[in-house]
């Protein structure tokens, strides 16, 4: 039996996922969806603004202090990933068979990797407004991937 089928069978019989799928309460699926959206919007939004600064926008902003925002960004990423896993668990087959699910996940994984790569580099930026070509490349990749995650996430509804 395929691993996806095993997981699907497990989630179909799991009391938590049954409640999540079938409860009409706004504290069931809508609450998980809300936290997922909130985490994603803040994470993507804050990352996009930091990326835009690294790519040359708002040059009056010093760069090194922006590293302090990454704790909040990581809280957003954690909330998004945890609730994302719960939403995936509630309907594995449908989500995995969506043609835009894997591109979305690829975007998210690369964007998170870029977040990791950027944090230490931003914190050690000296002088405070200098941005190396490597950091610019990471910022561009992060920007494209966060926007890509939104595009694939939204268009995924139709595939």
């Amino acid at each position: 039996m395929h691993i996806v089928d095993i997981l699907q069978q497990w989630s179909e019989n799991n009391a938590f996922f049954i409640w999540l799928r079938e409860s009409p309460s706004v504290f069931a699926y809508p609450m998980v969806f809300f936290i997922h959206t909130l985490g994603l919007i803040f994470t993507a939004g804050a990352s996009v603004i930091v990326d835009a600064r690294l790519l040359g926008a708002a040059r009056q902003l010093p760069i090194a202090p922006l590293a302090r925002y990454f704790t909040a960004i990581w809280i957003g990423i954690t909330l998004t990933v945890l609730t994302g896993v719960v939403m995936l668990g509630s309907d594995i087959q449908t989500k995995l068979h969506n043609r835009l699910f894997l591109p979305k996940m690829l975007c998210v994984v690369v964007a998170i990797a870029m977040t990791v790569a950027l944090r230490s580099r931003i914190a050690s930026t000296r002088p405070e407004t200098f941005v190396s070509p490597l950091v610019r490349a990471f910022a561009a990749a992060s920007l494209i991937c966060w926007l890509g995650a939104i595009v694939f996430g939204k268009f995924g509804v139709y595939f």
Binding site: V26, Y29, P30, F33, F34, T37, L38, I41, F42, A44, G45, A46, S47, V48, I49, A58, Q60, L61, P62, A64, P65, L66, A67, R68, Y69, T71, A72, W146, L147, I150, V151, K154, F155, V157
Partner: protein, 141 residues
């Protein structure tokens, strides 16, 4: 496509509002507030993008929000947006914005600025919440 544009607008807005409100609360204190507040026109542009695409979405499927009966979550979302507008007017009209402009690197903002930033964060979280409940009540989740 409209939903994607709506989300792009929201992401830009959430990014700027989030970073600014967090700085007012003391996160990334080494950032001076004046240059951060100069991003506000971009937040307005992001809001207009979100509002215009939101208007188109409303026209495409008015029944989801306007009913009849009116979707309670849609009404609550609009109410929260109005409250955000009033909070912003308060921020500018009372001179708080000018006061915050003078807060330099490493300095703390006033308690009133923190209250306005806290209300702003709470109301924006509320807007996202009502947006999700809206789709749930409309059966479009």
């Amino acid at each position: 496509m409209c939903k994607t544009i709506h989300y792009f607008g929201i992401a830009g807005l959430a990014g700027i509002v989030g970073l600014l409100d967090l700085r007012i609360f003391g996160v990334a204190k080494a950032l001076p507030l004046r240059p951060l507040q100069r991003l506000m026109p971009w937040a307005v542009v992001s809001f207009l993008v979100a509002a215009a695409s939101g208007w188109v979405l409303l026209r495409i499927a008015p029944g989801n929000s306007l009913g009849p009966p009116v979707n309670i979550a849609f009404a609550a979302k609009m109410l929260f947006l109005v409250l955000i507008g009033l909070n912003d007017i308060l921020y500018f009209a009372t001179g708080l914005k000018r006061q915050v402009d003078t807060v330099g690197a490493g300095e703390n903002t006033s308690a009133s600025a923190k209250i306005v930033a806290g209300v702003s964060i709470a109301l924006w979280i509320g807007v996202v919440y009502w947006s999700r409940v809206l789709t749930f009540l409309a059966g479009a989740i």
